[in-house]
């Protein structure tokens, strides 16, 4: 019988609490954002839980790409450690959540196959999945063509999806259909795994995974409409009909050309100055994404209040860790480009006002 409740989550809950305590505090973020350059940023970061992942890097390796990869090493370890400790019935959901990074790696490899860089360059941008990946990355890159690379994915969860989309790739010579097919498969599978859980696990998983999907789905709809100019039927086919707050009617309304601030305001009430923000959607969209992610962060933090013996706690911790890495990426990029604080601070999820 599957262990759930206190018996199933006692150990993982303690573990997550311990790991949660090593996350960066708001004061840490203030200090990091005040660092004068990338070297001091890294030397400060070395004093935190990210230290062991950065110790091996020399000054010449302080490129945004290499630093990003090193920082993500901790996120990968968190996923592996938590997935191993999770009760058996909850593992498929955590594994599927982790597969997000594998999908990103897969997209990066396919892009590399098209643009033809060396393996040394490509491996620098791949998320460190270690043994938890089914991708024969180097062999795919060396296969020389997208078709041959996809053939190497036989017996993986991606083959059927990609082989369907391959016909469109051959006709259009554009990776967009392949990437969209992968995204749709990923999120559908994630939702399906969340829905398989029952009781408190089911409630929490639907809430957290659903909220995560909301951000993605809503951003997709708006981007397809604003940036890609896709038709109504294409937008509907490229988006998802489920989520925690976002409903199919909302997606269809945006696809059909409804007033954006009206729909967004209905789904996420309380966002200040929404009309002004979305007056020019191309400019306002990045800021809207930050606002939605901050809300997601609050949603995840609320999982730590009350009964801790459910899947919500590890899920929330992993998403929070990912968001923390996203903030660090912003900092690394900003410090490398010597960007003034007022330019990068609006894009950080944590408030870093001193």
């Amino acid at each position: 019988m599957a262990k759930s409740g206190v018996s199933g989550y006692a150990a993982i809950s303690a573990r997550v609490r311990a790991m949660y305590s090593s996350m960066l505090s708001p004061q840490d973020f203030v200090r990091l954002s005040d660092a004068p350059d990338v070297s001091s940023l890294i030397s400060q970061l070395k004093q935190t839980a990210y230290g062991p992942y950065l110790d091996g890097l020399k000054e010449k390796d302080f490129t945004p790409q290499k630093l990003d990869l090193a920082i993500k090493g901790r996120l990968g370890d968190s996923y592996r450690s938590i997935t191993q400790m999770a009760p058996e019935h909850a593992r498929p959901l955590l594994k599927q959540l982790y597969r997000y990074f594998e999908i990103q790696n897969l997209k990066a490899i396919l892009r590399a196959v098209v643009s033809d860089p060396t393996w040394e360059h490509v491996q620098d941008v791949l998320f460190p999945m270690r043994e938890m990946t089914v991708l024969p990355a180097q062999a795919m890159l060396e296969s020389g063509s997208v078709g041959a690379a996809i053939e190497l994915l036989q017996n993986t969860p991606y083959y059927d999806t990609l082989s369907f989309a391959m016909k469109r790739y051959s006709a259009e010579q554009n990776l967009f259909p392949l990437e969209v097919a992968l995204d749709l498969q990923y999120w559908r599978q994630l939702w399906s795994e969340a829905k398989k859980l029952s009781g408190q696990d089911g409630v929490q998983a639907t809430k957290i995974i659903g909220s995560l999907m909301d951000v993605n789905n809503l951003m997709w709809v708006i981007r397809y409409k604003v940036y890609h100019g896709l038709s109504e039927e294409e937008i509907i086919n490229y988006t998802l009909p489920f989520g925690y707050r976002v409903r199919d009617d909302d997606v269809r309304a945006v696809a059909a050309g409804a007033d954006l601030p009206l729909v967004v305001g209905r789904v996420f009430p309380g966002i200040p100055d929404l009309n002004a923000l979305l007056e020019n959607p191309r400019q306002g969209l990045p800021q809207l994404e930050v606002i939605l992610k901050r809300r997601l962060m609050q949603q995840c933090l609320s999982a730590f209040i009350g009964n801790p013996f459910h899947i919500g706690v590890p899920l929330a911790f992993l998403i929070l860790s990912d968001l923390e890495v996203q903030d660090l990426t912003v900092l690394v990029e900003a410090k490398s480009a010597e960007m003034p604080a007022e330019e990068f601070r609006p894009f950080m999820l944590r408030s870093v006002e001193a």
Binding site: F164, A165, K167, L184, L230, E233, E234, I236, N237
Partner: protein, 670 residues
């Protein structure tokens, strides 16, 4: 046998005119390990020319291999006849081109036919799902007012696509339900064709795309396609047969060409790494000292003016660059393979193969002692070694046979045959079978004590061998103060003394006699353990002092000297824990011997009392289980004991492999 073969470094000065003859001697004798002579100060004037020559031979070799592959011809064994040192490239090329021309006409048509077959099969694959749809494909394609798409799409997208077309009049039917790829038909008016087409495309509807000349229902088209596929396959078979006949005709000639080209390529590759002076070449490398005389004679025959300088290499000291040639008997190859899997011995280091040949079967047999099961393993191992069964494991055949033989001997000592011992033997066969030594099942505690004693002996040997290796490599500081040096050894003896005292004082039921024996020697073991313990604790300081390294104490950073003391104490603590765990680790030898008897008892309990079919079937299946499952586990445990408790103490490895220049591919040492 105890050490790698002694090597001599040689430097040859070869007159240009004798270059090929000398290179041929070096590469055909199989004892010369070449090193790069293109070091600074020695010009490599013609290296580029030779590089080009080697490249040409290499390209030709690949072409021959391609032709051989097309004709399904293997490379065959290296020829026994002597080839010319360097065969004329043009002559070889002309011969190869002639055969290539003969092969090309057939292979090109074969390739075309295969491509055609692939296309036809692709169309069949598209049509098969709609085979039962009774609609004329051309009428759908050429319809005047209706736009329609017939094809397959992912099940997951079905619902979404219908949603996307909610505001457009259309017909959407699933013609054949399939869990992954249903066959669907989407139709609407021509005026909505764009919307329908976009919706279908974005839902990944894989539309059927047939050339315009295909007409009729899918069933009719498929029938015609299958006939065409059949005739294409027949043509492919004819072409393959023709190539097969050509392969038989040309086999020997192609093999001959391949080896000639290969020989020339190997020679030119070697010459690329020679250094060139004005009229001479410099060649450097390593040769086993016992082959030196013979090689010198052959070289002198090949070139009267060659200058040979031989620099014998001492086996002591650090010689990490000297290649290591092991010289073990064929019968010891399985153990050499085990040692090489752990690490290749360094030059001058003791080769532990012969020791493994004693400890591995001994420990295996002690854990798996049974006359019948041992004999089964012995026979099985011999069959594997002869290549009669499980060819992929041939290299392990002898090892299994040795383990089987040892298990058989221990079977006699334990008095066990196929698990039958004592009253079970009498019950089944009527006679009596007594152990020649002791029965693990009945003398459990003595067996465990003896196992620890065996472990102590093995560990003491390992410590002595470590000391021996350190003397040979002249690591004097580590010899005296190291964890596996004299102080470490003395600490282990003191530790055994203390262990023996503890066994006596606590009256423990498991008695390691060696430890008790050491404790009986009237020496102050506690004080000695304390002194040698301090020696290990401060070994780093003592080694630094002896070797003149400064600072003597690495006490910088967080915590300073206090932190150093904590670390030094933890080092001592870890050493003592390791010595205890290493010693007790051998208890498993006795424990497995007991468990082996225990599992047999469990099988007899399942078999019951009555000597019928059920009884013998259970005994048979039980024995198969024991041989397969327990035999494997015991193998893993034996390897663990040998690797970590034994080799780990004295054997470092990390030697460079001896790779003599050779025309024929060299076989792996193990």
């Amino acid at each position: 046998m105890l050490f790698p073969r002694e090597m001599s470094e040689i430097e040859l000065i070869v007159p240009s005119k004798d270059l090929l003859a000398v290179t041929k001697v070096l590469s055909s004798y199989g004892v010369f390990h070449q090193t790069d002579s293109n070091y600074p100060g020695v010009a490599s004037g013609s290296a580029n020319t030779w590089q080009e020559t080697a490249g040409n031979y290499s390209a030709l070799e690949r072409r021959i291999q391609t032709v051989m592959q097309q004709l399904d011809i293997d490379e065959g064994r290296p020829p026994s006849k002597d080839y010319e040192a360097m065969v004329d490239l043009e002559k070889l090329r002309a011969a190869v081109e002639q055969i290539e021309a003969e092969v090309r006409s057939s292979t090109e048509e074969l390739s075309e036919q295969r491509k055609r077959l692939e296309q036809l099969e692709s169309i069949v694959r598209q049509l098969e799902p709609v085979e039962e749809v009774d609609i004329d494909i051309s009428s759908l394609r050429d319809s005047r007012y209706m736009f329609s798409i017939l094809g397959q799409m992912p099940t997951a997208n079905l619902e979404r696509m219908q949603t996307s077309l909610a505001r457009v009049p259309h017909v959407f039917l699933t013609l054949r339900a399939d869990p992954a790829r249903p066959v669907v038909w989407l139709a609407g008016t021509k005026s909505n064709a764009d919307i329908l087409e976009r919706a279908a495309r974005s839902a990944y509807l894989d539309a059927l795309s047939l050339p315009n000349d295909y007409q009729g229902t899918p069933g009719n088209i498929l029938k015609s396609l299958r006939n065409t596929i059949e005739s294409t396959r027949r043509r492919i078979k004819e072409l393959q047969d023709a190539l097969g006949r050509l392969g038989l005709e040309r086999r020997e000639q192609l093999r001959d060409l391949l080896w000639q080209t290969h020989t020339s390529r190997v020679l030119s590759d070697a010459i690329v790494r020679f250094g060139q002076l004005r009229h001479t070449y410099v060649v450097t490398g390593w040769v086993p000292s016992d082959s030196m005389e013979d090689l010198t004679r052959r070289l002198k025959q090949a070139s009267k003016e060659i200058l040979i300088e031989v620099l014998p290499t001492s086996r002591t000291g650090h010689n990490s660059s000297v290649p290591v040639a092991l010289s073990n008997n064929k019968l010891l190859k399985p153990f050499q393979m085990l040692v090489n899997t752990y690490a290749r011995p360094r030059y001058g280091e003791l080769d532990p193969t012969i020791l493994m040949a004693v400890t591995f079967p001994l420990l295996y047999g002690a854990m798996f002692g049974d006359i019948g099961q041992g004999l089964v393993l012995l026979i099985f191992g011999l069959l594997i070694n002869a290549g009669k069964v499980m060819k992929s494991m041939q290299s392990l055949g002898l090892l299994i046979a040795y383990c089987g033989a040892s298990a058989t001997i221990f079977g006699f000592l334990y008095g066990s045959i196929f698990g039958f011992e004592g009253e079970h033997f009498t019950h089944a066969f009527g006679g009596e079978l007594h152990p020649l030594w002791l029965s693990p099942l009945h003398d459990t505690l003595p067996v465990l004590g003896i196992a620890i004693d065996v472990g102590i002996v093995i560990l003491l040997i390992a410590y002595l061998l470590a000391i021996f290796n350190q003397i040979r490599s002249r690591e004097w500081a580590h010899l005296i103060f190291g964890h596996t040096g004299l102080v470490g050894f003395a600490l282990y003896i003191s530790f055994l003394g203390l262990l023996g005292m503890a066994v006596n004082a606590l009256r423990l039921p498991i008695i390691p006699k060696i430890a008790v024996g050491i404790a009986s020697i009237p020496l102050p073991w506690t004080i000695l353990a304390l002194i040698f313990g301090l020696g290990i604790m401060f070994s780093e300081v003592l080694i630094n002092l002896y070797e003149g390294h400064r600072p003597v104490v690495e006490a910088h950073g967080v915590g300073g000297f206090i932190m150093y003391l904590v670390q030094a104490f933890m080092d001592l603590f870890e050493t003592l824990i390791s010595q205890l765990s290493n010693t007790l680790s051998f208890v498993r030898v006795g424990a497995f011997a007991v468990a082996h008897g225990g599992v047999s008892m469990a099988i007899f309990a399942l078999a019951g009392e009555e000597l019928g079919f059920k009884y013998w079937l259970t005994v048979l299946l039980g024995n198969i289980f024991i041989i397969g499952f327990e035999g494997l586990i015991v193998g893993i445990q034996t390897m663990r004991l040998n690797y970590y408790e034994f080799l780990g103490k004295f054997f470092k490895g990390g030697g460079t492999r001896f790779e003599p220049l050779s025309v024929a591919p060299t076989q792996e040492e193990a």
